[in-house]
């Protein structure tokens, strides 16, 4: 169900692991499935460029692939620019995700937001205007009795 690029980013994860002396750490949980992602940032205090970034993810293959992709996209960007990366950007960059797996890419977007929030809180004691700790509001659709159409509806055996 995953395309080759997703499989590659899952199989050969970019930037997985920790940064021991991270400038900031973001941790987010996916309310849909309970999965968790942690993002570690090493930020240049002058330029606010993300000089190093690593992730740890407890989640599905899509979660790991999108984690790996967002670290690649964010690395070298300023924090401000990294915050502009949406979950859609990540999914697009991976060549698309199955419908039921779109929610997974939210972890990546929110992971950066959470790390940025951690960075500003540590530095300024408050968040800059417009930035907040992410709080997802996605809900899980698909009542069982209804006709359920999806490109990938896995079923029990």
């Amino acid at each position: 169900m995953y395309n080759q690029k997703v499989v590659d980013y899952f199989m050969n994860p970019r930037n997985s692991g920790r940064i021991e002396d991270a400038s900031a750490i973001g941790e987010v949980g996916n309310p849909v499935c309970g999965d968790v992602m942690k993002i570690y940032l090493k930020i240049n205090p002058q330029s606010e460029v993300i000089e190093d970034i690593k992730f740890e993810t407890f989640g599905c293959a899509a979660a790991i692939a999108t984690s790996s992709m967002i670290t690649e996209l964010a690395k070298g960007k300023t924090l401000a620019n990294a915050l502009k990366i949406t979950n859609k950007d990540v999914a697009d960059e991976l060549g698309g995700l199955p419908a039921v797996k779109l929610h997974c890419s939210l972890l990546a977007q929110e992971g950066i937001q959470a790390a940025a929030a951690d960075y500003y809180m540590k530095r300024d004691g408050k968040l800059p205007a417009g930035l907040s700790f992410p709080e997802s509001s996605m809900s899980n659709g698909g009542a069982e009795e209804e006709r359920f159409v999806s490109e990938d509806s896995r079923a029990a055996d």
Binding site: M1, E144, E145, E146, R147, F148, V149, S150, S153, R154, A155, A156, D157
Partner: protein, 392 residues
């Protein structure tokens, strides 16, 4: 050993086309995965199901996502009729269903079962050719009517209904329309983009595909309540591990049928049918065609009533001559009534008992037909000689 074997029971079931079997073969012992599994075996099974769904959908010009595979044509009828009736009643739309007197048991018994569950229904009559009148349908629609189910073509008498007109009546009144196209699909052109039908039933084994697999076309946006609950396969509408080889076989059979239709093979078959009918009627006195003729009849279908004698005797004597036919006089499900379909067309009991159905395939040859035309008349003579009703 008989000189020749002529299988003329293609309305009952068809021979699986060897190309279909060949397409299915790898999915038993090589690519045997469950399409819901994530691994390689699962993915190749899923891909095969996707391809087959597209092929099956293409036969009726539908979108793949609008085709649901079921375990039989009967199951698709049950799902359509009960699934829509329950769903529409739950929405408060009403609980009145309309059907016809000559539906297959799968639809008719579903409607009658719903009758026990608090639904009301109207059974429309048919004329002597087995036709449902669009005007009669219109007159039967009530404010609480939610669903109409009328078959595309009849299995016993081959009559093709005026589906477009019947569907238009339903559209005009905002009533859902299901048609059982088990006998029609693959044999005559059907285009759900042109026809005002909301649901349409097919079965692979009536079109040179395997047994044990049916399909229901469900127009986008229609919600059904499943009749088979479980793991949620087939868009949640038909649970149970997908029958991958059979689905693949359906796809292949649909592909072959479409190519045949595009090449006009149905026209050729219809010409042979008319030659056959003409031969029977001219060689056997006091015999008539049941059902409609010409374009209103399935191209592979012939059916007759032969006066003064019964179907079973004809079947057995034909069988001994290597000719394999069927009869509406046979008991259905242990009942000994003659076919309700024939009675609905106005035949009396005794005449209906003398029914014989001879349904061809694309493998039937003119030599086969001539063989039947040679063997059949003396069989009738032999049985008539024993009949108390026949005036020798």
């Amino acid at each position: 050993m008989t000189a020749r074997e002529v299988y003329l029971d293609n309305s009952a079931t068809t021979r699986t086309d060897p190309r279909v079997l060949e397409a299915m073969a790898p999915y038993f012992s090589e690519k045997y995965g469950n399409p819901n599994s994530l691994h390689k075996y699962g993915r190749e099974a899923r891909a095969a199901v996707d391809t087959a769904r597209a092929q099956t959908a293409a036969l009726i010009n539908a979108e793949p996502a609008d085709v649901v595979f079921t375990g039989a044509g009967s199951e698709a009828d049950n799902l359509a009729v009960k699934g829509a009736a329950w769903a529409l009643r739950e929405k408060g739309k009403g609980a009145h269903i309309i059907t016809s007197a000559i539906e297959h048991h799968a639809a008719l018994s579903s409607v009658k079962w719903l009758g026990k569950m608090g639904f009301e229904y109207t059974i429309l009559p048919v004329d002597g050719r087995g036709m449902v009148s669009p005007d009669a349908l219109e007159a039967a629609i009530r404010p609480d009517t939610t669903l109409v189910t009328i078959m595309f073509a009849n299995n016993e008498i081959g009559t093709i209904q005026p589906i477009k007109k019947l569907g238009e009546v339903c559209r005009r009144h905002g009533v859902m329309f299901h048609t059982d196209a088990v006998q029609a699909a693959g044999h005559i052109k059907i285009d759900v983009k042109e026809l005002p039908v909301d649901m349409l039933t097919m079965a692979a084994h009536k079109m040179y595909g395997p047994k044990g697999i049916g399909a229901l076309y469900v127009r986008r946006g229609i919600k059904l309540i499943p009749t088979l609950h479980g793991g949620g396969q087939e868009f949640g509408l038909r649970s149970g591990t997908e029958n991958v080889p059979a689905i693949v076989g359906f796809g292949k059979a649909a592909e072959i049928a479409k190519a045949r239709l595009d090449a006009g093979a149905d026209k050729k078959l219809a010409a042979m049918r008319d030659y056959f009918i003409e031969g029977v009627l001219s060689k056997i006195p006091e015999t008539r065609l049941t059902g409609a003729a010409g374009d209103d009849r399935l191209p592979f279908h012939t059916s007759f009533v032969v006066k003064y004698i019964e179907g079973e005797g004809m079947l057995l004597l034909l069988d001994a001559a290597g000719i394999y036919a069927s009869s509406g006089s046979a008991c259905t499900s242990g009942s000994l009534e003659p076919s309700y379909v024939l009675l609905a067309t106005g035949l009396d009991h005794a005449t209906a008992h003398g029914s014989l159905r001879l349904t061809m395939s694309h493998e039937t040859t003119k030599e086969d037909i001539d063989y039947v035309l040679e063997k059949f008349p003396p069989i009738v003579e032999k049985l008539r000689a024993m009949s108390p009703f026949y005036n020798k």
